[in-house]
Symmetry: C2
């Protein structure tokens, strides 16, 4: 008979983006050994609860949000002593959300919930900084072969928003003309007839939307989203 004394948890690395800055969501623990420490949202799963449901539940409970993109990242199985009594294995999830869509509010176990710029994430509990690092890499590479940037933007966005998102997350310059040409060539971004001047000065721009159904249709026809630059 199997005698195992290991518990399973899930953790989420949730990225948000706003005005050229990429953020990660962290929560401050209320209870336990690590009270007051910042950690990733997450927690133990219930016996009859699918992993992904557990993540969604914890995000709702600890930060009051529902993400728009969620996928499994990796399982962190070694060196974790979350508790003295047993080993914990944590399944980490990668998530994206538009921070504008929610007001963070810590509920149950969390004392506080907060967005940290990825460049200034404090030392988190457990091995959570490692998770953030891995998730950050995943975001960077995924951005180039899957149209997930749209999950970080408003439904309607300026082309410059998309361009700035790519610039700031990938940390490189992008040629505006080539970028626009490329994205438009895919046919998955549609121009609306709305024109908007946001904030300060400058010529007003047209708003665009991501045509998700079109993207999924193209996928069936072997379309391959791919944005790379030199």
């Amino acid at each position: 008979m199997i005698d195992q004394n290991i518990k399973i948890a899930v953790d989420a690395i949730v990225f948000g983006y706003e005005k050229g800055t990429l953020y990660v969501l962290a929560v401050q623990q209320r209870f336990g050994k690590l009270a007051d420490r910042w950690v990733l949202p997450g927690g133990f799963i219930l016996d009859d609860e699918p992993l992904i449901t557990a993540v969604e539940r914890e995000l709702k409970e600890e930060a009051g949000i529902t993400v728009s993109y969620l996928e499994q990242l990796a399982t962190f199985g070694d060196d974790i002593k979350r508790d003295d009594r047993f080993r914990v294995i944590s399944v980490a999830y990668f998530a994206l959300v538009n921070p504008k869509n929610f007001v963070l509010k810590a509920d149950t176990d969390a004392k506080d919930a907060k967005w940290f710029p990825v460049a200034q994430v404090p030392t988190l509990g457990y091995d959570h900084n490692e998770m953030v690092k891995l998730a950050h890499q995943r975001l960077k590479s995924k951005l180039t072969y899957q149209p997930i940037g749209f999950d970080l933007l408003d439904h309607e966005f300026l082309f410059s928003d998309l361009e700035n998102l790519y610039c700031s997350i990938l940390e490189r310059d992008i040629d505006r003309r080539n970028f626009r040409k490329k994205i438009l060539s895919f046919g998955i971004v549609k121009e609306t007839d709305k024109v908007v001047k946001i904030g300060s000065s400058g010529r007003p721009g047209k708003l665009f939307v991501f045509d998700k159904p079109k993207y999924h249709q193209l996928l069936k026809e072997n379309f391959q989203f791919d944005i790379r630059f030199a």
Copy 2:
């Protein structure tokens, strides 16, 4: 206090390649409810054992092999009723090995161990067919952006071996000249001065080797392995 009644297992999807055919390793269970059923090699982890160590141990125990490439694939957390008494969550690992390097021998829990052509994998226990499917996709896509094909070949190989491997795993035709040109342009495959005529007729070919140190050096210089075809 956390009251969880879930056990953790690891499973491995081990691919082998020989003469144009891709194989997956399966073992036949000796004990338990699924006695005689074919399943992926794997099993429960020990309390103080890293996940990857558990995989290596099980592969050794159940099939007598040591793989040459091993990475985490995904964690299968839902719908598993391996045992009536508790839920099982399994961390699946993706592995590659050259079948020539080992003679399969079932040891401990396994009655038998066997290579199945991927196209003819029988119905396996648990959700293992799903794991094989996911691993197969991973292999296909990874082949295009990481030089892992060499882990499936002999240390010294003919260019045609490499080409056939790509053809058969990716299931498409490849232009021999363009393929060779591209691979050689990377500078990670070296020509030896050995010439060999294998098996049947035809002009003898030169043997090549994968220059792993060179590859890792190039990686540091932002080299990106990439093989794609129309």
